[in-house]
Symmetry: C2
Subunit: 262 residues, 2 copies
Amino acid sequence: MNSTEPIILITNDDGITAPGIRALIEAVKDLGKVVVVAPDSPQSGMGHAITIGSPLRLDKVDLFEGIEAWQCSGTPVDCVKLAKDKILHKRAHICLSGINHGANHSINVIYSGTMSAAMEAAIEGIPSIGFSLLDYKYNADFTLAKKVVREITERMLARTMPEHTLLNVNIPNVKENLYRGMKICRQAYAKWAEDFEQRTDPRGKHYYWMTGKFINMDKHSGTDVEALQEGYTSVVPVKIDFTDDKMKEWLEMEWKDWAKMP
Amino acid sequence: MNSTEPIILITNDDGITAPGIRALIEAVKDLGKVVVVAPDSPQSGMGHAITIGSPLRLDKVDLFEGIEAWQCSGTPVDCVKLAKDKILHKRAHICLSGINHGANHSINVIYSGTMSAAMEAAIEGIPSIGFSLLDYKYNADFTLAKKVVREITERMLARTMPEHTLLNVNIPNVKENLYRGMKICRQAYAKWAEDFEQRTDPRGKHYYWMTGKFINMDKHSGTDVEALQEGYTSVVPVKIDFTDDKMKEWLEMEWKDWAKMP
């Protein structure tokens, strides 16, 4: 290892055997020293979960030629925490998470293990990016996605980024001749309308499967959902301070008879 | 049930048998029609996890006198989703989550199942509050916390709140004579320094327990951590749009040669 090489920490939430993480590694492996620490099983929808009540396993695996790789029994966030404390012993220069099989735009930033892993690294002060391709299929075509990953990673490594830089990057599922480039966006206001499917087990007891329909409630322009529909890659910078400043002002006014101000 | 009564959805992440949720119910049960939907096991640190890959159980239980209550095999966010789709069939007027045994101030908002449940309800447009008491003990004293819960819930029910109102309320572990009241705050910048403890199992293989030390990196005033140290209840309004507007402006400037603007 060249000591001037940047350390690139790679993780995901689809698990270490997913084609998406292999595509991510291939896209950036010559840009620095790549270290992979990823879940040993699919962890989609795990959000920012951490493992408190049970112990974690961490095992070195030989899956990617010439690349140091570890699989972990925990969540994507556990992977980032273990990578820092038990594997790297120092701060990575950049953390890349993905490439997720399926969209993580709009409100999905909070359900997504891919984005939560990147967020965990950003809390540590590591510039981080979560990459997602709008194709849920196992055998999705990552050709365009790999080019996007490389372009953005090169940009991020080329200069010092602001503290706690965290980008949510979604790549449209389009042919390259229809691809329109990159767009800086804001998170669309959207939600999932769940419709749990009720079934009955062989003992006559009910159980429920979560199903859901995505609803974009955002009628204004400039959103990630809109950019993706137009054939752009959406880039949404994400905060790790969730304070609602407008609501804070409102409360300071409305509750001033009662609550102390800062 | 009186049809003009507000519907109060109650959940938590410590599980339906935790004393904290019982304290929460007792504090507000005469303010409306209370419906409890909470995890059947402890779910601390589950963040915004949802259950996709396995089915969910939902069972009516008789735990709180005169109160409709359900236990769910899933995460706190699953509870809120199931409550809406399978139990209430309409929008609750308010969602209360907690009272959590232990702090959820500062960065803990993203790890906490208590706050994630409240956030899920806020995405649905239900004014929501996560309550936490700074005492991890099972037999924590919720006397002061119950008064705080009641005060804030009454305020929230008394008037129409802004859309997507979500409050992170932490209550200090102090005697009532040292308690100083409520303070509107911002989220402190803090993080956890993990130090995984390595052990060896009977077969000679390593495993790891997550341990961690909380570090407040925020030297400025006006934070929730500061208010709690001074003996105040901290009230932090939380956003569900995580777009980093400052970083967005920075990218629009720095990457203008390359990325399209909104």
